[in-house]
Symmetry: C2
Subunit: 597 residues, 2 copies
């Protein structure tokens, strides 16, 4: 059995050297996030992930959540693990202290969440959805709604869900049909069917707070007529304890490719007269509220890509060290562990380098989010927010697409054993496969990136980011040695390719909207690779400095430089080709008539 | 329900215009393969695939093969489908007429097999393994062995298996430990455990003929001491009918990621005194016999990649036409079918163009195989054999890696529904995932390609192939219009990249054996893309000629040219980056010490 081991050394390196945890700890309200406190949190989280979540990941997948007569039974161990999770105070780590949260900065929460996701992605979805519901109520709810629901939800005693999708309304929420009828007493009766509701029903807590998108009777058509409601599974007694059952039922759960332990529910609202719901904020502004939360949710799913990649790497590395097969190519000795074979090494390095690059980018974006929220200087807040907005689709789209590829490499390293479910490698591939779909497919992320985040502002933010990348390029040029020469060469080509593609997008977006959109996903991939290469280059520069300082840990820093070089040779090398596809690939993709496909 | 529809139009185009079916039909012994006969065969095969195999693909996956007390029960419908398969004479279509086969050329068999694989990959593995066993006996068995087993196996009344792998001996057959002890009467007693035995046990026929690798008592160590034995499940009576049970048992079957209907068996030989076995050919030459069959098996698995890609494309295309979601980007109309969205189009074109390119390459290689076997001119036979040997690892490695990617795109096009098992898209991804592993992983194919197929002969064959590609490049340059300009530009860069990378491999193979091997898989991918681009370029040239001729079917030919252009812009664009990784990527991949990974 392979047990998850939190990559604390790399997490700490990224937090300190790349994401600037010290600066984050100086932001107003984040003073408690001192480096020592953060280290202690990460260490404890790592223990919980390894000790409580990792052991039930494989069994949870095998057993799956079970539905019977509107009730969902979680796999063995999940209820107890969730109880411990709440008891240890993990649920509210990033939430507002006003309602019982610990108020840790997002960059710290990101590292902690990576551990939940890596050790047990299916489990981690429960607190993830609760966090989304908490955020919706925190940002938009009335004081009464907040006081009623937030303390229990932040504590984790009640979980939350997000009910957006309907059979005819997936990516396109304009098509939502669920109805909410005002009762004259301030409450509404909610009717409709929702699908793909993560943890819509389970047996781990004594209440579930559903957030539901629905239309009021006179609402305008399309996205401007959608409102958001709180619909608790159990209505509350006067003392705030769960009382009468509300008119909401889990009709069935899905039989899915992965995340078997996470119940994906079909929810029926109002089959017996109407589910009592409470309006969040104002009528018809539901989608606006969703958009505010979307960044957080998309970032969190991006982290799933990072996490699965790291977990798949750990397992494949263990196997590659243990499995004896074939002879050493150079000296003919053996049989040897397969880690000795160059192609296995290449695959392990693809896994390692991409996991590290994705982690670095995600944490850097998380730290920018903290600065955007709390920096005393308004200009700094604005600058950081623009960076976060630009990068969220990249963290989401690139990390999840790469997470799938890395999980698939993990299967490949296991050879025939990788195809056998008991081995565990295949689960990561199956679990990862949802991450490029939910919270907006990669195509939707890419459209958001080239449209709202680049073309709409004429490429201003991305040009600024490319400017910062060029400073790193200059610093690389000054470093001696073959490794830095390779990093510099690869990164230079990458930045040039990104600049060329970004200019193409910004220039041609309006006059060739479909052609430019053909290049959206290749552009997102290009931007992910170059952004990851940027962070690996920064990491290599830091490592070089540390190596010279005699501070010790030379092995780690040398490996970091070599890993950055690998990333340049094997990933950044793809950048010019991706730019070529972005610039030239539009017409050919649209030339074949629909009926001739 | 999506039903498989054989892509007859494209198959016929490839067979006639690219693979030269007319020339194949003129080879001695293949005279019956006239274009009309071939058309009739393909049409009938398409009907059988659609009518008998496609309907039980999803149910077979869901139900799976079941093991109980040494017996395996196949999913509902499989036994009946197999009976029809045999009754219709499909099993022996490519086998020697001397023992009841139809002796069709490999290029025809390839098209037919693509249909079995596309409509029901799990089913298709049974005749695939039987074919392998037939070939082993045909090429190396004594006249008596042939007469005893071949008629029933070619007919399909008995199936065959290949028993190579043991727990400690996967890719490395030098580690095989199974024993075969001569009994003095010409027979042997076989002892040992074999794993990953496809269709090692099932209930579709009244005998199963196992081919087993084992060591005789005085055999030398390593691969030079392995012999091949026939071990029937039931020993034969004097009249040739199955009689007493032999000492071989299926101990269990694996719980796998995919191909659930194909029983993957753990086989125990000789637990009760020894399984009676009959030597094939000579002692200690078993591995040599295996190598001869390996090309055929690897080619067949490569076809699985083609087949799954096409099947996943068909299903995704149907969904993309039906699913209504979102608005047209250009004119705002809608909601529209998602096929209208540029990123969905891009994904569909990635699926379509790669399926067509892989099919074309595979059939061209199959036709070369036929010429290598039957051409009256020895030089032509030799030239064709060298081409086949070079291309087999590309067909196997590139088509299977691409098959997985295409199946994953199919899931993505389905959005959330793609993650739900009932939809059927996920099955292709799960089934495809084994294809890059069995019959030699992609790493093993790539090592074979750069080592035995390129470096060992100083790159002679690949240089000749690149020469032929350059002729196509010249022909492209003469075509008018934007589409051919794009095809020419992409293909030129691709050929140049391939030439550069091949020279690097041939030049540095000996002095930097590990560094060059780091680039093996990127090189294989490069060669696959450029070879696929070569076939698409040839196809576009043919299509242009046909368009000018007024022969009709303009829609098909126009789509072919546009598809070739897409392939150039979106796939061939990757070639220079892959070459860069091959040339520069060795050192970085090996720099991090094993213990620092």
């Amino acid at each position: 059995m392979s047990t998850y081991s939190a990559p604390l050394r790399d997490m700490q390196f990224v937090l300190r050297e790349l994401a600037g945890i010290e600066q984050v700890g100086k932001l107003p309200g984040y003073e408690e996030a001192t480096p020592d406190t953060v280290d202690a949190i990460l260490e404890e989280a790592g223990k919980f992930a390894a000790g409580a979540l990792s052991p039930i990941n494989g069994s949870g997948d095998h057993e799956g959540a079970k539905w019977h007569d509107s009730k969902v039974t979680m796999p063995a161990g999940f209820k107890e693990a969730y109880r411990q999770f709440v008891e240890n105070g993990w649920n509210g780590i990033g939430c507002e202290p006003e309602y019982g949260g610990q108020g840790m900065p997002k960059v710290v929460v990101a590292a902690v969440q990576e551990m939940w996701k890596a050790s047990n992605m299916a489990f981690s979805l429960c607190p993830l959805l609760t966090t989304g519901a908490i955020e919706a109520i925190t940002l938009n709810g009335s004081p009464e709604l907040k006081a009623t629901y937030l303390p229990k939800m932040i504590e984790g005693s009640w979980t939350g869900t997000m009910n957006l999708t309907e059979p005819q309304a997936g990516s396109d929420l304009a098509l939502v049909r669920s109805r909410a009828v005002p009762q004259g007493d301030g409450t509404y009766k909610v009717f409709g069917q929702k699908i793909f509701i993560t943890y819509g029903e389970h047996d781990m807590t004594d209440n579930i707070i559903h957030l539901v998108l629905a239309r009021t009777p006179d609402a305008p058509e399309g996205v401007k007529g959608i409102s958001l409601f709180v619909v608790p599974k159990f209505l509350l007694n006067a003392d705030g304890s769960p009382g009468a059952r509300n008119d909401v039922r889990c009709v069935s759960i899905e039989h899915k490719l992965g995340i078997h332990a996470s119940p994906t529910c079909v929810m029926a609202y109002g089959d017996n007269g109407g589910a009592i719901g409470y309006l969040v904020g104002k009528e018809n502004e539901g989608l606006k509220y969703m958009f505010v939360m979307m960044n957080a949710a998309r970032f969190a799913v991006g982290l799933e890509g990072v996490a699965i990649a790291d977990r798949a790497y750990q397992r494949a590395l263990e196997y590659a060290r243990e499995r004896i097969q074939g002879r050493d190519l150079a000296d003919g000795s053996g049989p040897v562990p397969i880690i000795r074979h160059p192609d296995i090494r290449r695959m392990l390095m693809l896994m390692k380098s991409q996991a590290e690059a994705m982690r670095a980018l995600a944490y850097v974006v998380a730290a920018a989010h903290d600065a955007a929220a709390r920096h005393p200087d308004a200009e700094e807040r604005k600058r950081n927010q623009a960076f976060v907005d630009l990068m969220i689709p990249v963290v989401k789209g690139w990390s999840t697409e790469t997470g799938i590829e890395v999980a698939s490499l993990g299967v490949q390293i296991h050879g025939g054993m990788g195809f056998i479910e008991e081995t565990g490698a295949a689960q990561y591939l199956r679990d990862a496969r949802i991450t490029t779909i939910y919270e907006g497919t990669t195509g939707i992320q890419a459209n958001d990136l080239i449209g709202r985040k680049i073309a709409r502002e004429g490429g201003a933010t991305i040009k600024a980011v490319i400017g910062i990348m060029k400073q790193v390029e200059e610093a690389l040029a000054k470093q001696p040695g073959e490794e830095f020469a390779a990093i510099h060469a690869g990164f230079s080509r990458g930045v040039q390719a990104l600049a060329e593609a970004a200019t193409h997008v910004a220039t041609n977006f309006s006059q060739d909207i479909k052609g430019v959109h053909v290049g959206a996903v290749p552009f997102l991939r290009l931007m992910g690779i170059v952004s990851g290469g940027w962070q690996m280059a920064r990491a290599a520069l830091v490592a070089q400095r540390q190596l010279g300082s005699g501070a010790g840990d030379d092995g780690f820093y040398k490996a970091k430089i070599s890993t950055a070089r690998f990333f340049a040779d094997h990933l950044l090398s793809q950048a010019p080709g991706l730019a070529a596809t972005v610039v030239r690939g539009g017409a050919g993709a649209l030339a074949v008539p629909e009926e001739a496909l």
